[in-house]
Every structure is written in C-alpha cells, then in structure tokens.
C-alpha cells in the first residue's frame, strides 16, 4: 500500500503521485518551509505560468526565498548550457534566438549533466531537487532530471492523468517505462483538500473516484453524479447554443467566486465567440498572443487603410465594434455630407489618417473602447497592445512589432491571472482553479482533458454534452 503522505526532504529518489487538488503545492510549501540548510532547494516546473503561480503561493505562505530556487526546466537548461557551451556542444548564439531550439537545448543540457565534475558543482549549489508537474515532462526534460538525480536527491511530483501537454518534436516521457522506472512511487496523495476546503467533500470524493475510473479506461455516467454536478443535455440542434451560453452564465454561489468555461481546445476563435456572447466573460489567452503579434507586424501606418486595420483588430478584442460603420462615417465626413456632429472617435480616426503615428493608433483603440455598448472580452490582448503602442510612441521607441513581442514576453513571464469568468481550453486553464467549471462541449474531451476539466471547479460542475457517458473519444 502506497502511503498517502510523505516528507519530501527525506526522499533520495522518488515519485509522488499527486491527483489534482490533493495538496501537492502545500506539500512543497511545507517542505521548503522546514528546509534550513545553507543551500537552497532547486524547484523546477514546466511553464513560466507555473513558476509564477508557484512563486505567488510560496510568497503568500511566507517561505523564505533563500530556501529555494524556482525555475522552469527549460530556463534552467538554457542557463546551464550558456555556462558550459563547449560541454553542451551547442552554439551559444542559438540560445539567444527569439524562438530558442528547446529540444536541442535540452539535449545539450543532458550533455553537460553527464559530466561528473558538473554533478559536484550542482551538489555545491543546491540541497536537493523537486520537480513539479512531472507528467508534462518531455523525453529530454526527463533526461535532464534523470541526470540531475545522479547529483542531487530528487523527488518528482505529478499525475499522469493530467498529462495533456506533449506536442512538437520532443514527445512526453513514458510515465511507466521512463518516469516510473527511474523514480519509484513513494506516495500517492488521496485527500481532496481543494473540495474539502470549499465545503464540497462529496464532489471531491466523486472527482477522485472518477479519476480512478478514467485511469483504468472506464467511463463516467453524468446522470448518476452528485448534485454539485449538473449535466446539460445537447441534441445537435439549434437549441444547443442557448443552452451552452446559459451554462456559461452559471453563477458562483459565492459573490467573489470565479467561473471557468472550457470550450473547444482546437478552436481559439470559438472560445473567443463564447466570451463575446456570455455576459462578463473574458478570454484566457494563449501565451503567444498571436493576434497581437500579427497585427503589430502587419500594421502599415502610412496606408490609407490604417483605420480599417485598427478597427478590425479592435473588433477581435471587443464586442459591439463595427469597422464598416466607422469607415462609412469617415467617408461621409470627408465628403462634407455629415449631418451628425463628428464624434471623438471619428476625430481620432481622422487625426490618425492625417498624421499617422502610434499615439494615434492607441487613441483610436481607446475611443472604440469608450463607445456605448462596447465590451472588451479579450482584455489581456488589449492591455499588451496598449503597452506596446505606448512603448513605440516614445522618442527612440522600438518598432511596433518588436514592442509587441516584448509585451508578449512580459505576459508570458507574468503568468495568467484568473478572470472572474474566463473562457479557455483545458490546456490554458490547467493549473487555474475556480468555484464553478463549465464544460461546453463534453463530447470532444478525451479522458485526460475530461479529468482536467472536472478538477477545475471546487463547488460546482456544469457539463454540456450529447452523450451522458463520457469520454466518448479516445
């Protein structure tokens, strides 16, 4: 029988299986709090968002910063490889590329970590190693941790059922053949603290039981679920959409509660449509902020078309913006046929045409936001866009495209904040927790995505699907 708790500071090498909401982060916090050796514990996780989230948890728990070093695996690898480029067998210039070749960097880090003198250096620097979200480890990331575990006592934490990442040229490490073979299971967390703390023990036990079923390839029947789980039946007809939007408008029983709405992972536009149609909902953006970067690199200030470009981009971020109406009005005004008084928005647009600059772009966007009936449903993109425009409006400011990339990097590093009512995919919402979670298209989720979706809400789940028994896809 695997114990259900463990002291992370005493494990020479091992794996803690940590289902969602079972106190994994708390376990890390407590270990770091007790750690009082002279060297810090190295804590690695996967994404910058994960680092930011963990850091804020550690700060809130008043863990002394000297007790740990927190980084992404890739960030650690880049630094390591930069320090020993010859051993790494990589050209240091490649580390500074805008899109670093992560797989090659990981391979290079493994080259460094094979050297016994480097083990010695690592031992001189860190007391031990903890790796969070281990199910998201790629083959080469696992390689890095594998070699590190020869130098340091290493404990990895994760849950294979939450392994929904894993794409690109460096596939996920095999949970049993690779991870399990090197890191023996030392504990499996079994207390659903997230739900217990929210006063929803029953839901918590049901989610934990659902995990066991999903793990062994079984299905879950939503018709026989606790009251906290609401199933909304879809039938493929036109009446589905109103049902989904109504589900998305589900309120939290607490006034400051958050609601997460899980849409189609494969279609960001459909998530954006949901956000624009559900009152108060905003989009949880992917870290690449692609719409902003595209807009910035395509925007041609000198073009007569500049107002159209700005208005169409703004329409992607705000509901109730009509680029066509604005352009028609501008034509009317320019032709001297305008009967209505020229509005602030139109003045800003004309000023932009007369004197094209980035200040002008920013004020058109700001004016659009001021219009009656306009609501921003993609605030993250809007904020990043305004920040970039302000940057390049300064004397000696950068190119807009560069400023946008910089704003994107800031967004990447800052981590996602949780909107009151956020729309995203399991991929984007993983790691975020809310009181209510709404699954809009349950039939499209496989077992792992379904499990991640089910674990996002601590008080209430709303699942819309045609099929009452999920998952229906492999």
């Amino acid at each position: 029988m695997v114990p259900d708790s463990v002291d992370l500071l005493t494990i020479p090498r091992g794996l803690v299986i940590a289902p969602a909401g079972c106190g994994k982060t708390q376990l890390i916090i407590e270990a770091l709090k007790r750690h009082d050796a002279t060297k810090p514990i190295l804590v690695l996780t996967h994404t910058n968002a994960g680092v930011a989230a963990l850091r804020s948890r550690l700060d809130r728990a008043k863990v002394p910063p000297v007790a740990y070093r927190l980084s992404t695996i890739d960030g650690f690898a880049i630094r390591l490889v930069g320090m020993f480029p010859a051993s790494a067998q990589i050209d240091p210039a490649r580390l500074k590329l805008e899109r670093p070749p992560y797989r090659d960097i990981r391979t290079a880090a493994c080259n460094v970590l094979k050297i016994s003198s480097i083990h010695d250096v690592i031992r001189a620097t860190y007391a031990r190693l903890l790796v969070d979200e281990y199910q998201d480890c790629s083959q080469w990331q696992h390689g890095i941790v594998y070699y590190m575990s020869h130098a340091l006592h290493t404990c990895v934490l994760g849950d294979q059922l939450q392994a929904i990442f894993g794409f690109g040229d460096d596939g996920l490490a095999d949970w049993h053949k690779q991870v399990g073979a090197h890191f023996p299971v030392v504990a499996e967390l079994k207390t659903p603290w997230r739900w217990i703390n929210a006063g929803a023990d029953e839901l918590g036990q049901w989610v934990l039981a659902a995990r066991t079923k999903l793990l062994s390839g079984q299905t879950i029947d939503f018709r026989h679920a606790p009251t906290a789980v609401e199933w909304v039946q879809l039938d493929g007809s036109n009446s589905d959409r109103p049902k989904q939007l109504k589900a998305g408008a589900t309120r939290s029983h607490t006034t400051d509660g958050h609601v997460l709405i899980i849409g189609d992972s494969m279609s960001p536009p459909s998530q954006q449509r949901l956000a624009s149609q559900i009152p108060g909902a905003t989009v949880v953006e992917a870290v690449d902020l692609r719409d902003l970067v595209n807009f910035a690199s395509n925007l041609d200030l000198k073009s007569t078309d500049v107002v159209r470009q700005v208005a169409e981009f703004s329409a992607k971020l705000m509901t109730g913006v009509s680029p066509d109406d604005l352009l028609r009005r501008l034509d009317t005004i320019k032709a001297g046929r305008a009967r209505k008084e020229v509005s602030d928005l139109e003045r800003a647009a004309l000023a932009l045409l007369a004197e094209p600059n980035y200040d002008g772009v920013a004020s058109v966007i700001a004016q659009l936001n001021q219009q009656g009936g306009v609501r921003v449903h993609r605030p993250a993109v809007l904020r990043a866009c305004i920040r970039a425009l302000n940057e390049c409006a300064k004397a000696d400011g950068p190119e807009f495209a560069d400023a946008a990339i910089r704003a994107r990097e800031q967004y990447r590093m800052a981590g996602r904040s949780l909107p009151r009512r956020g729309v995203g995919s399991t991929l984007l919402l993983k790691g975020l927790e809310a009181q209510v979670c709404v699954v809009v298209e349950g039939d499209k989720l496989n077992a792992k995505n379904l499990y991640v979706a089910l674990t996002r809400g601590s008080n209430k789940l709303v699942v819309c699907s045609k099929n009452p028994v999920l998952p229906v896809v492999a």
Partner: protein, 568 residues
C-alpha cells in the same frame, strides 16, 4: 579550502612571463638574488588579497612599458561549495589537469574544477580584479568574486612587519581565528567623548589669546560661532576602531614590543589556527629575525613536516638552515631565461635530497663549484680570502658557492646540482677520475671541469709548480703542524731513505718536489687534508707566493676564476 593550482604572471616587474603550478603544501622559492622571488609573492598577494585598491606605479610594469598591461592570473582549486556555486560562478568554472598543469575552459570528468582570478592593471594604474574564463570573455561577461569569497581565499602575508596581526584591525589574522566581535564599541565611543570633554576644558585654559582673537574676528565678520569658541579634540581624531584593541602580555606590555622573530612565530601559529578559513600564507624571508632553531620552529608551525599539509605556504628564503629543513619537493627553484621565468620543483630532477641537505647554500647561489675534496675546497676558500684582503671581489659577491664533492662522488654531486638548473663547475684532482661516465654526461651538458697536470693531485701540483721559496713555505707549514720528525720520517719512508727533510730544505730538486707531492697527499697522514689547513696555506702561502708558478697550476685556477666572474 582553496589552494593555488596555477600562477600565470605577465609583464610584472622583472617577470615578462611565468607559468607555475605550485604544490599544495610548502613552496619555498629559492634562487639567486634578483630572481624575482618576492615578485612572485607580491603577485599572489596582489591578485588574491581581499583589498579594494592597490597602488602600482610605472615601475611595476615590466621594462617600464605601460602599454602592455600587467596580468596576474591565479587558478584556485579544491574549491569549497561557495566557490563552486553554479549560479554565482558557473560561467567561470574551469577544469584543471594536475598531470599536465593545463586548464580546459570547462570542467570535465577527470579534471579538477577550478576558478581563475585575474588581476589586470593598465597604464592608468587602476587595478581590476575579475574572474576569467575564455567563454565569459567571448560573451563579454565579467564578474569578480563576491567579497565574502574573496576574503575566504585572501592569503595572510607574514611580512617583515607582523604588528598589524597583533591587533583587531582590518585584515588581521585575529579576526579569522574566531567569529567573535568586539562588543565594546559603545563603551569605546563613550570613552572617546569623555576624552574630548576632559581635554576641551584644559585646552581652553592654555589657549585664551588665540580663542579670543578667533571670537573677536568672527564677531566682526558676522560668522556665526556662538558666544564662546572652544578648543576641543577633533572627534574624528579620537575614534576607536578594532585596530585600537591589541594583544598585551600579563604585565600589560603590548605584544607588538616582542622581538621581530617572536612576533612572526606567533602570527604563523595563529595562521595555522585559522587554516580552516584562510589556508594560503605568504612569508617573506622566513629567517627574518629568527635564530636557526626558531626558523625550524616556524617551519614546523607552517606544517612543513606534515604528511597532509594544513596550509599552502609560499615563502622565500636565503637561509641554508631553512633549505636544509625542507624536502626537495618543497623547494621550488626560480630561474630566469631572458626574462621568461620558470619555477620547478627540486625533486623533479631526481634524487637530490642528499645534496640539498649537505649543501643547502649551493641552492642559494648562481654558480656552484664542486670541489673533489676538502683540499680543493680549502684552496679556493683561502685564495678567495687572499684576494678579498687585496681588494678584489669575493666569490660570494659573485654569487658563487663552493661545495665539497666528497671525493669519488664529485661528479655525481656536480651532475645533481647541474640538473637543478645551476651553473656548475668541477675542480678535481687528476690522479684518478671517478665515475668517468657521469663526468662525460656533466661535460656534454655544458659543465666545465678544471684540473691539474695529468696524473696529479693538488698537493703534487703545488709542490711541482710553485716557485721554490713558496714551496719551502708550504713544507714548513707541514713541519710546524706535524713536527720535524714526523715529516722527516714520511719523506724518508716515501723515498726509501734516499731523501731527507734537511735535504729538501737545502736544495729542492725536481725529484724532491715530486716526492714531497706524493708524501704530502697520503690518505691517512696527508699534510693539508682538512679544509682549514688548506685554507690557511692558500691564504697565507700560495696566494702571496704564487708569482712565478707553472701554468699547470695557475691555468686552471685563473680559468675557474674567470668562469665565476662570467656567471656573476
């Protein structure tokens, strides 16, 4: 804790270039004067000591050429965790191969992980200390050691003055032997205040006129000084720092008043106690202020005799006593060839321990003359004394040392000294040649040998070649020392009764000269077999009376004298 693995000096004072891998324990730098031994100590001190500034002058640049920077790189090994810290120093960690002394830019399996500290001084005399690795230089990255780490590797220098180590001032060894701090700061400040007040009242009484003029003038000019200007001690001049607190003996006499040697001995001992934190010690002229037995005590305190050396010591010496006490592996010979300096371990050339023990003074000279036996040794010494008495330059002034070759071992010893890198010559008898193969080796390696007419020992050469009057004096010396009868007996027995002492005195024939040579060199009852005998003879008889001697005697002596002069 850290040890110096490699020292690279460029363009510093007399050293154009030096690469040296010292030993872990004792490194006694030995070489003739002006071979830059102290420069090496200074280089280590300047590069590693935790100091914020350093005043150098143009004279510290090699050849006074300030366009080329002074560069001193010291590579540290046996790094503690703090110096091996990946985050702080990862980009600067390198790999040292102890077998070859070469450094790879990155650590690797089988190499020791090391850090290189580099001091660069450009023409503006501004020192800059930073860590060095090729890859960091390529990336234009530079950082120095953190101050705490610099302090940890900072060497202690046992210079001519040890006084500062006997009070709790900055850089004192006393701060390193314990973590305690002086808590009396507040009391000291109070004391300073009291002193100021007390003095202020007295001073006023003594300076009324000056004070009243100041008061008056200030009043007229409207300078605000209040009602009464005061003469008080300047608060800054009465400040107590850690340096104000020093060690005293039980009679309250400051330990600074101890003899120089005692102070150095004590500080060395304290250094030993602080070895855990600061294991590198620099010692200038270890013999300074010490009697021979205390030199040995000091060497012991520095761990010279321990199998596992507690400290890494860099020292210079001109003391044969110190050299004799050390193992060949602890002696590092400094050599300069066209301002490119090399340092090598005495033990690297083979088994020279015996030679070092017997003739430590040879290691301190530039030229070494190995004499076959005591007679040759005495001859050279005596002649040298004669020359000095007549206003000529002495052998020692020419940096030459004379070593007794121990008879049959003469070429073996000469070869050993030659291998140590010394300019070596041999003065030997020609009656028989020991170890001809080693002699050949010595000669083909550039070692000159000087000797007498074929088949002759020194005594034979003397009796054959000196003018008659001088030869008679030589004979008289033997008679005075050994008595008429003994000498007469020896002459008679050597000539089968044909020749007598009286006969020799009457008229010294060629036959008699040959016979006296033979009789005088007898193994057990030789007439001039001790150094002191021959020394006196050479000084008082041969030196003054050599005029008119045969070239077979004066030739080798003159050639040897010239060889010595050439090396000086």
């Amino acid at each position: 804790m850290a040890v110096v693995r490699k020292i690279e000096i460029r363009h510093f004072r007399g050293i154009a270039s030096l690469d040296w891998c010292p030993s872990e324990g004792m490194n006694c730098l030995v070489g003739p004067g002006d071979s830059s031994k102290t420069t090496i100590l200074d280089a280590i001190d300047y590069c590693l000591a935790a100091r914020r500034n350093l005043s150098l002058s143009d004279a510290d640049f090699h050849d006074l050429d300030v366009k080329t920077p002074v560069e001193i790189s010291i590579t540290l090994g046996r790094l503690g965790d703090s110096l091996k810290n990946l985050e702080a120093y990862g980009l600067y960690l390198r790999g040292f191969d102890p077998k070859t002394g070469s450094i790879d830019d990155e650590p690797d399996t089988g190499l020791e992980t090391v850090l290189t500290v580099k001091l660069t001084v450009e023409a503006d005399h501004e020192p800059s200390w930073s860590l060095y690795s090729e890859r960091a230089a390529q990336q234009d990255q530079a950082r120095g050691l953190a101050w705490a780490d610099r302090s940890a590797v900072s060497p202690t220098r046992l210079g001519a003055y040890a006084d500062h180590n006997l009070s709790w001032g900055r850089a004192s060894i006393l701060n390193k032997i314990s973590d305690e701090t002086i808590t009396a700061t507040a009391e000291l400040a109070e004391l300073a205040r009291n002193a100021r007040d007390a003095f202020g009242q007295q001073a006023e009484a003594g300076l009324p006129t000056a004070l009243s003029i100041v008061q008056d003038t200030a009043g007229k000019l409207g300078v605000p000084v209040g009602d009464a200007v005061k003469a008080m001690l300047d608060s800054q001049s009465v400040s107590f720092s850690g340096g104000t607190i020093s060690l005293h003996d039980s009679d309250k006499i400051p330990l600074k008043n101890l003899g120089l040697g005692s102070k150095r001995l004590l500080v060395a001992g304290l250094q030993r106690a602080a070895a855990g934190t600061t294991p590198i010690v620099l010692v200038d002229e270890i013999e300074h202020g010490l009697e021979p037995h205390r030199i040995i005590r000091l060497l012991d305190a520095l761990g010279a005799k321990e199998a596992k050396p507690p400290l890494q010591v860099f020292m210079t010496t001109h003391s044969p006593v110190a050299v004799r006490e050390l193992m060949a592996a602890q002696i590092h010979l400094v050599r300069s060839r066209n301002t490119v300096h090399v340092v090598h371990r005495a033990s690297d050339v083979g088994d020279v321990q015996g030679t070092i023990r017997l003739f430590p003074e040879a290691l301190l000279a530039r030229s070494v003359i190995v004499c076959e036996g005591a007679t040759e040794h005495g001859l050279l010494r005596g002649l040298d004394q004669y020359r000095v008495a007549n206003g000529k330059v002495s052998l020692t002034a020419r940096n030459a040392a004379i070593v007794d070759g121990g008879g049959d071992n003469v070429f073996k010893r000469a070869r050993a000294i030659q291998l140590l890198g010394y300019r070596t010559a041999v003065l030997h008898d020609s009656d028989k040649i020991p170890t001809p193969d080693i002699k050949a080796e010595f000669e083909t390696s550039g070692g000159p040998t000087f000797s007498w007419s074929a088949g002759c020992a020194l005594e034979e050469e003397l009796f054959l070649s000196l003018p008659e009057k001088t030869a008679q004096q030589l004979l008289n010396y033997a008679v005075e020392r050994r008595g008429e009868k003994a000498i007469d007996d020896q002459i008679r027995s050597a000539s089968n009764g044909k020749i007598t002492l009286a006969g020799c005195r009457a008229d010294l024939t060629q036959e008699m000269r040959t016979l006296l040579g033979k009789a005088s060199k007898a193994k057990t009852s030789g007439w001039y077999k001790t150094i002191s005998d021959m020394e006196v003879v050479a000084r008082d008889i041969i030196g003054p009376g050599a005029n008119g001697s045969a070239a077979s005697l004066t030739g080798p002596i003159n050639a040897l004298t010239k060889w010595i002069a050439d090396g000086a």
